[in-house]
């Protein structure tokens, strides 16, 4: 299968920020389109439950 060309450098950057909100804020201040994900540990941080969820989905 042919690997598609990565067009990231041709821009513009459109970002989804998962984690530190200040990173998303900085991108917004630079005029970048950003979606801030209000992330919390999945399955309450329970590793076994996370593995189970990954298998189910």
């Amino acid at each position: 299968m042919e690997i598609p060309e990565n067009k990231l450098l041709s821009g513009p950057v459109i970002a989804i920020n998962i984690g530190l909100k200040s990173f998303g804020t900085n991108l917004e201040q630079q005029g970048v389109e950003v979606v801030q994900v209000d992330w919390t540990p999945p399955a309450g941080g329970d590793q076994e439950m996370m593995d189970l969820l990954d298998e189910l989905l």
């Binding site: 690997i3 598609p4 060309e5 990565n6 067009k7 990231l8 450098l9 041709s10 821009g11 513009p12 950057v13 459109i14 970002a15 989804i16 920020n17 998962i18 984690g19 530190l20 909100k21 200040s22 990173f23 998303g24 804020t25 900085n26 991108l27 917004e28 630079q30 970048v32 389109e33 979606v35 801030q36 994900v37 209000d38 992330w39 919390t40 540990p41 999945p42 309450g44 941080g45 329970d46 590793q47 996370m50 990954d54």
Partner: protein, 512 residues
């Protein structure tokens, strides 16, 4: 002394937010220690270390907020914990409005997104990064503590999909002028950069800007990319992208010591690159790298900048790597103030690459330096907190990072270390680096000024004089403003250099 804690079930906050709350609470009069953290297993151990333990804490989950304090009296504990909502709301006012809960929801809001910026705690990071790659996004992975096996899995998967994984442990990237993570505000221009070294990339891009040229893109690969296990997967992918990029006319690669077999693979690829490539592989003697017509090896970041800016444009002026005669005279004058027992260097650094490059330059001058992050194992400090002879400490190293903010964000740990060093009568030179840019402390120099002045005062009291050498990595366009930070340092008598390499050369002159 009294202590207490509060647990808020299912109230999750990111580490920068928690650090802000922690800092505010710690400023309350009578507070001796604070811990504002989520109930993850490592954080519970931290609480145990400071003597806070309870069955409720044992039962807390990673989604639960824990605020614990130790104070002079029970009244202070009660007052602070009773007003917890006020502390949280005070910080929250400045936080952006939250929008979506999952990556999938985010993508449905912005279906044309091309980049996921992932900075969740390390134990969840690979999972989120994999999900992002699955949906066709490139990944900037800031999180550390991702296993080398997970890193390899992510990078192989990205390669199959034609995507890029910057990281893990990636501090900075600049894509088409957009700074991600700890990036500086630099001009756009013809030089593309790839770095397996966070502060190394910042130093390179700032110097290119300050020399009058500019950056097309600068991509961080994560510190393990040129290891024997990862074999440069992101470096090679980025090289290909920059080779094809119309904005880029010369490519620079900066890294700490690479694995030699990986370096061989990379050099083979560079040899057929259609654009000129400059390589600064710290720890590798540039004379040992066989130069092909399109490859120029450099011994320091400054040298790499000099080579990169020269062919790209007639205008930019390559920075000089030598100290001018006036500076040499200043350094000689400084030494005259030292007392007979003053002879040692203490470098208290925030940048890991700077710690490495300084050691390399001093080593080449025949000056042996101890470090918690040494070039050679024999020079490792017995304990990171205890300096010995000439010492350069990387304050961003893992030992200092457990439950603490990086010294680029918060100067507390460096301030303490400067004050500790100031009691050693054998210290002659204090070397500090300052790193500006997005997400870094808004006043890195201001945070350390009191400690610098106190160290100088104590040395003077003993009949000597403390020489303070500083290097500042940044540009005039950074939020902290390079000129202002330099001025503050000069006002307290520090000798300030525009690069880590030049500051290190000056230290050789002082100790020689």
């Amino acid at each position: 002394m009294a202590s207490g804690f509060v647990i808020r079930k299912n109230q999750y906050y990111d580490s920068v937010f928690l650090m802000s709350v922690n800092r505010r609470i710690s400023e309350v009069k009578g507070i001796q220690q604070t811990a504002v953290l989520m109930g993850s297993p490592p954080n519970k151990i931290l609480l145990l270390d400071i003597g806070i333990q309870d069955v409720q804490i044992n039962n807390a989950q990673p989604n639960d907020l824990i605020v614990a304090i130790i104070a002079e009296s029970p009244a202070i504990v009660e007052n602070v914990l009773g007003r917890l909502d006020e502390w949280l709301e005070a910080i929250q006012e400045n936080a952006p409005v939250l929008r979506v809960r999952t990556l999938e929801d985010g993508l449905s809001n912005k279906p044309d997104a091309n980049l996921a910026v992932v900075s969740v705690p390390g134990e969840y990071a690979a999972r989120e990064a994999k999900k992002a790659l699955d949906t066709g996004l490139n990944v900037f992975l800031f999180s550390d503590n991702v296993s080398i096996e997970d890193e390899l899995m992510l990078k192989k998967f990205a390669k199959e999909k034609g995507l890029l994984v910057m990281g893990p442990d990636c501090g900075t990237s600049l894509i088409g002028g957009v700074g991600i993570g700890f990036a500086n505000v630099v001009r756009r221009g013809p030089i593309g950069a790839i770095a397996a070294a966070g502060t190394g990339l910042q130093e390179f891009t700032c110097q290119v800007h300050n020399a009058g040229s500019g950056i097309s893109h600068a991509i961080g690969t994560g510190s393990h990319d040129l290891s024997g296990k990862i074999k440069g997967l992101t470096t090679l992918a980025t090289l290909e992208m920059l080779e094809a990029d119309q904005q880029t006319s010369v490519i620079a690669i900066i890294s700490k010591p690479p694995d030699l077999s990986t370096l061989a693979i990379l050099l083979k690829r560079i040899a057929i690159c259609k654009k000129p490539v400059v390589g600064c592989f710290l720890g590798i003697d540039p004379d040992t790298l066989s130069g092909t017509t399109n490859f120029r090896p450099a011994g320091t970041i400054d040298e790499a900048v000099g080579i990169a800016v020269a062919p790209s444009n007639g205008q930019p002026v390559a920075p000089s790597e030598d100290l001018n005669p006036e500076m040499l005279a200043v350094l000689q004058d400084e030494k005259k103030g030292w007392s007979p027992e003053q002879k040692y260097l203490r470098g208290i650094l925030a940048g890991g690459t700077f710690c490495y490059q300084s050691q390399q330059i001093l080593d080449e001058a025949g000056i042996s330096v101890h470090s918690n992050s040494p070039i050679e194992a024999k020079n490792r400090l017995e304990h990171p907190d205890r300096s010995s002879g000439h010492t350069i400490v990387d304050m961003g190293e893992d030992y200092y990072m457990v439950g603490k903010p990086h010294p680029m964000i918060d100067g507390t740990m460096r301030r303490r270390r400067i004050l500790a060093e100031s009691h050693d009568p054998q210290v002659a030179v204090l070397y500090l680096d300052f790193i500006l840019g997005y997400n870094a402390s808004m006043d890195p120099v201001g945070e350390l000024l009191d400690a610098i002045m106190e160290a100088k005062r104590l040395t003077k009291q003993r009949g000597g004089s403390l020489t303070v050498v500083a290097s500042v990595c940044g540009t005039e366009d950074d939020p902290q403003v390079l000129g202002l930070q330099i001025k503050m340092l000069q006002e307290v008598g520090a000798i300030v250099f525009r690069s880590n390499a030049l500051a290190s050369t000056a230290i050789c002159e002082l100790l020689g």
